[in-house]
Symmetry: C2
Subunit: 320 residues, 2 copies
């Protein structure tokens, strides 16, 4: 069985044919990010770019998981193969571990055209950001037409991860206006589409007016996409067709305007820069240990050597 | 004139003999942190360690500058040579630029045994932290018996800089208890001495009780220094003798217990680590530019090359 192999090339071939076990093992390799992780990136890279990446972000409790589950349903109804990355920067758990919590998504666990994976901070030496890029690329390269990246929370990491999507859906709730004032600017900046979820509650219209007022105050360039606002009730499916339509509309617009190509180029540049930085960081950690380091450190500590000369000495031996 | 020279060795010789112009130029070199800055560190290192470093930190408006000025006066009365670094991480100005604002310290500007320098974020490639370490070392190595490091504010950078002191004085005011609740824990951790400044105001005793209660809740190791609390009115000089006595007592205790040696060792280790990291960061910035980078980046952007292989290629050529 291909999926029993530990050879990335064999695993990749099997995963591309729909072997979920092989895909799971490749994702674990990619998450860990070592030599084998790099081999996975090398294999996936030429096949990536066909899939479309949708980010789902918003405050905790906004209903992102339920909405993601509803989106999966609608995308499946349209005949697409869907990959989902559920990302929780605050959780130390990874892999299948927290999948059990994502109860709503379990509707799709028996659908072999849907692959759902939870990711957390542990593992990848380059951090969650690079691990997410790898996982997106892998899902894309193994034939998932849509890759949904759901992030929990609205902090810096979430915004960073949202930057990896082709379209970003920011999920808010009625009455949102007062609750997360501080994060509004950041969310406005990344949103291509706003979903006012739990729209069966009071205050939908005022939230919509509030969002629209903020958008009206934003200066958009000629021809630039202006975020659309969709009301949803994820638990009943209300508005989900409209939400997928809004994403499809944004996709068409971004393709026509060249914005999609531009975003993906920026993303690849940023990823490359990040990899170089992380690897140098790693190198620094390696350098700051071992016998030679200990000896130099002892000289610096005792005052026999100044720290800059010691650093020179240490860095002289550096090579990738 | 030695101070007209730009040769660090000549400048250092002159500064060690009390030439303030030479010292100013060396500090500028150290602040900038390039090759000449490193040469300054190399020259200063063997002569450093005799001076004693006192950190003065606390919330804005607590009266740190006035207290620093009073401390200078008392230390001068005890016959010491005093160097002062006034550090403002939030200010883009550096060197003499903001010195004019520090009105109280001007009492000492005509005393040739007192050297006062303002430092801010601009300049040093390794950031304010490394620049501060360099400046402390230089003042120490050029015969300043005491080096006072005053930081404005109570943020992360201030705590980091406080970590470079042999004794740290945290300046609070009566009624402080309510005002900076959030920072209490951080300040408690770094304080060797608390100065309740503006002690002519109401609430000194309750602030003292408040501090003492917090200290009582802290678990100290056998023989560990327990922070002392001194009341001061910096503007009148009240309590300043007691404050200097408290610092001297902490110094004696730290010397006797070995804590001073331990702190300085930790500091040197941290500085070395920081230098290695910063230099690798710089190297990363260099690597991520230029013709070779552009060519590799173009291949990654177009999807011809995966980013890990491109990073490999880039890092292969690395040497310090």
């Amino acid at each position: 069985m291909a999926s029993r192999s530990s050879d990335p090339a064999q695993l990749f071939g099997a995963a591309a044919k729909g072997d979920r076990g092989a895909l799971a093992r490749l994702l674990s390799l990619a998450e860990r990010g070592g030599d084998q992780g790099r081999e996975v990136a090398r294999l996936a890279s030429p096949h990536a770019g066909r899939g479309y990446v949708v980010g789902i972000t918003g405050a905790p409790g906004a209903g992102k998981s339920t909405l993601t589950s509803a989106l999966i349903g609608e995308l499946r109804a349209r005949g697409a193969r869907v990959g989902v990355l559920a990302i929780d920067p605050s959780s130390p758990y990874t892999g299948g571990a927290i999948l059990g919590d994502r109860v709503r998504m379990q509707d799709h666990t028996h659908d072999d055209k849907v692959y759902i994976r939870s990711m957390a901070t542990r593992g990848h030496l380059g951090g969650l950001s690079l691990a997410t890029s790898e996982a997106i690329r892998l899902l894309d390269a193994t034939g998932h037409d849509w890759v949904i990246v759901e992030t929990v929370g609205v902090g810096q990491v979430e915004v960073e991860i949202a930057g990896k999507a082709d379209s970003t859906v920011v999920v808010v709730n009625p009455g949102w206006g007062d609750a997360v004032q501080a994060n509004k600017a950041g969310l406005l900046e990344i949103a291509d589409i706003f979903a006012i979820n739990k729209a069966d509650r009071d205050g939908v219209e005022s939230t919509r007016r509030d969002l629209q007022a903020m958008l009206d105050l934003t200066e958009f360039a000629e021809g630039e996409w202006q975020p659309t606002i969709v009301s949803t009730v994820a638990t009943t499916g209300h508005g989900v067709v409209e939400l997928v339509d809004a994403v499809v509309a944004h996709r068409a617009d971004a393709q026509a305007s060249g914005e999609l190509v531009r975003r993906r180029e920026v993303r690849r540049r940023e990823e490359l820069r990040e990899i170089v930085e992380r690897r140098l960081e790693l190198r620094a950690r390696e350098l700051c240990s071992g016998a030679k380091w200990d000896a130099l450190e002892a000289q610096v500590v005792s005052g026999l050597l100044d720290p800059w000369s010691a650093a020179d000495d240490m860095l002289r031996g550096i090579s990738a």
